[in-house]
């Protein structure tokens, strides 16, 4: 074969392999830091894991999974996770939607407000937590001071160490930090609505609420679904807020599933059991992911 011919074939191979060469480094990295850990977690969940004696890690089958059914701390953590996710997702959405509608109004100064509301979203989680720990402080906290001076409460309240209040406080911190993201996503959705649609509705005699119901909400549907799915998935894996506020305490009152996994793995050193709980979270996450992918494909095709 002539030199030119070889060069041509080489070029062809190079051209064909180029896409793979470009993605390869990323795929290798993702395999090491994501894919391998996921598979390993699934594997580990079927074994007993003694950190100190890795050579004797017996296969235990579904033991860890079956044990969860009568582990009251596990069941407790599931209930807390459901409460935490349901309430914070709903409230972040409601506040975010109201805020987005307000921020979409064409009034003077709304631009500045749009910048201000991003602040909680931009702040590091740990900073937000510490800030509220101090503000909710029993003795010197500003919340107790404000609430007692308005007369809502008579005595200062132990927000963080009361086992009935610790979870609502964690939810409050989560909502305060999280609603701006919802507002901004929905605002972007609102700005995609054509003015003519409202004008047409107005000509048809629709008032504000009718316009909201028949024009705004249907157009926001795809964004809303995305926001809901992402919020659910992110909140299930939330760790920082509850950990920094109370480490899952007092008396397991804020111990949601991620804290449960973390403490099983790194404090009780029961890696197998922790992995099994992780796999359960994985399954739930996968269900949401499938919904999300369907949603993406649908918006792609439109």
């Amino acid at each position: 074969m002539s030199k030119k011919g070889i060069k041509l074939i080489n070029n062809k191979i190079r051209k064909k392999s180029l896409p793979y060469v470009l993605v390869l480094p990323m795929v290798v990295m993702m395999t090491i830091v994501i894919l391998y850990p996921v598979i390993k977690t699934v594997g580990m969940s079927f074994f007993e894991n003694y950190l100190a004696r890795p050579s004797v890690n017996p296969f235990v089958g579904l033991k860890h999974y079956l044990n969860f059914f009568d582990n009251k701390y596990f069941i407790n953590s599931i209930i807390i996770t459901i409460k935490y996710v349901a309430i914070t997702v709903l409230l972040r959405f409601v506040i975010g939607l109201i805020a987005a509608l307000l921020l979409n109004e064409n009034v003077k100064g709304v631009g500045i407000v749009r910048s201000i509301v991003v602040i909680p979203w931009a702040m590091p989680v740990v900073v937000v937590c510490l800030l509220f720990v101090q503000m909710f402080d029993f003795q010197y906290g500003i919340f107790n001071y404000m609430l007692t001076s308005i007369g809502i409460i008579k005595e200062p309240v132990k927000w963080l160490s009361d086992k009935n209040l610790a979870l609502p406080v964690a939810m409050f911190v989560n909502i305060w930090k999280g609603w701006p993201w919802v507002a901004i996503m929905l605002l972007a959705g609102l700005q995609g609505i054509q003015k003519e649609q409202y004008e047409a509705a107005e000509i048809d005699g629709a008032g504000y609420f009718k316009q909201f119901w028949y024009v705004t909400l249907p157009t926001l549907k795809p964004v809303t679904l995305t926001v809901f799915i992402l919020l659910m998935v992110w909140t299930i894996k939330d760790f920082d807020i509850v950990y920094v506020l109370n480490k899952g305490g007092p008396a397991h009152a804020t111990e949601h599933i991620t804290i449960f996994i973390y403490q099983k793995a790194f404090e009780a050193l029961r890696m197998g059991e922790a992995s099994a709980a992780g796999v359960l979270v994985l399954i739930v996450t996968m269900i949401f992911t499938i919904f999300y992918l369907r949603l993406l494909d649908r918006t792609d095709n439109e």
Partner: protein, 285 residues
């Protein structure tokens, strides 16, 4: 029935009340943080609390920066650790993500769509799930308590998200531009470096910033992978003080202010682009 004008005034009033409420909801805690960082110790531990420091002082900031052996917080070390980790994470992420997302955006190859699904899935994956094997892996590689080890772990958080984000930017650059470059005699790689990357520069900057912010704020991995306090990042140093018996709120507030302000400024400057990327990344494919 209400007249049109009256209706408009009512609506405007409601909007303004709402906006003021939103602002105070956000700004009261934010203001409290800044105000408290300038309070002398006695004013932090006082009841009723004071909104504006009566005797403003920089003591908290001085204590914050003073080295640990001299009774301070040793913030400088934590800050430089955080900067090193976030910088390297962002650089590695952007390099890997830009090649990969260019390929995903431009070429139809076998595995393209399954790779895309994998990226979306990894974005939604709970960190706690990969934490345990990652910890064991890093222990075997002797990367525990090592800043580069943390960078390595952080790419698992940043890489899927940033690849996805960048793919969106590349998709918005018409493919005709690559072809024009090829007609001018550029190889595909040449077109990438000379034409597409410069055009995607704003997107690359935003992606870099996003990776930077993600690792700048991260807490759980830092908590798990770093032990000795010389290696701590700022979020870890601040977060760990919570369990201590005596908390010096002065320098916690000062430290909070110092790491929050740069991020808030970046956010405000890049807000438009961040929102754009966010929306195109999350809503479209």
């Amino acid at each position: 029935m209400m007249s049109f004008k009256k209706h408009k005034i009512v609506r405007k009033t409601i909007v303004y009340i709402g906006l003021v409420l939103l602002c105070s909801f956000v700004l009261i805690p934010f203001f409290w943080m800044i105000s408290s960082s300038f309070k002398p110790r006695a004013e932090i531990f006082t009841y009723p609390p004071v909104w504006i420091p009566r005797q403003p002082t920089f003591d908290a900031f001085i204590n914050l920066i003073r080295e640990k052996p001299y009774g301070g917080f040793g913030f400088g070390k934590f800050l430089s650790n955080t900067m090193i980790v976030s910088f390297f994470t962002a650089v590695i992420t952007v390099i890997l993500a830009s090649f990969a997302s260019y390929s995903l955006s431009r070429f139809r190859f076998r595995g393209n769509s399954s790779l895309r699904y994998m990226i979306i899935f990894s974005q939604l994956l709970p960190g706690s799930l990969i934490l345990i094997p990652l910890y064991l892996l890093m222990r075997d590689l002797k990367l525990i308590d090592n800043l580069m080890g943390l960078v390595f772990a952080y790419t698992s958080l940043t890489l899927p998200y940033c690849t996805y984000l960048l793919k969106g930017y590349f998709d918005s650059i018409p493919i005709g531009i690559d072809e024009a470059a090829k007609v001018d005699g550029c190889s595909p790689v040449g077109a990438l470096f000379h034409v597409v990357f410069p055009l995607a520069a704003p997107g690359i900057v935003v992606t870099f910033t996003q990776a930077l912010i993600l690792s700048w704020n991260e807490f759980m991995f830092a908590l798990t992978f770093l032990n000795s306090y010389e290696n701590w990042t700022v979020p870890l140093a601040l977060g760990s003080s919570r369990g201590q018996y005596l908390i010096d709120w002065g320098y916690l507030f000062a430290g909070s202010v110092l790491i929050t302000i740069p991020i808030v400024i970046i956010f405000l400057l890049l807000q438009k682009y961040i929102v754009q990327g966010l929306v195109s990344g999350a809503v479209k494919g």
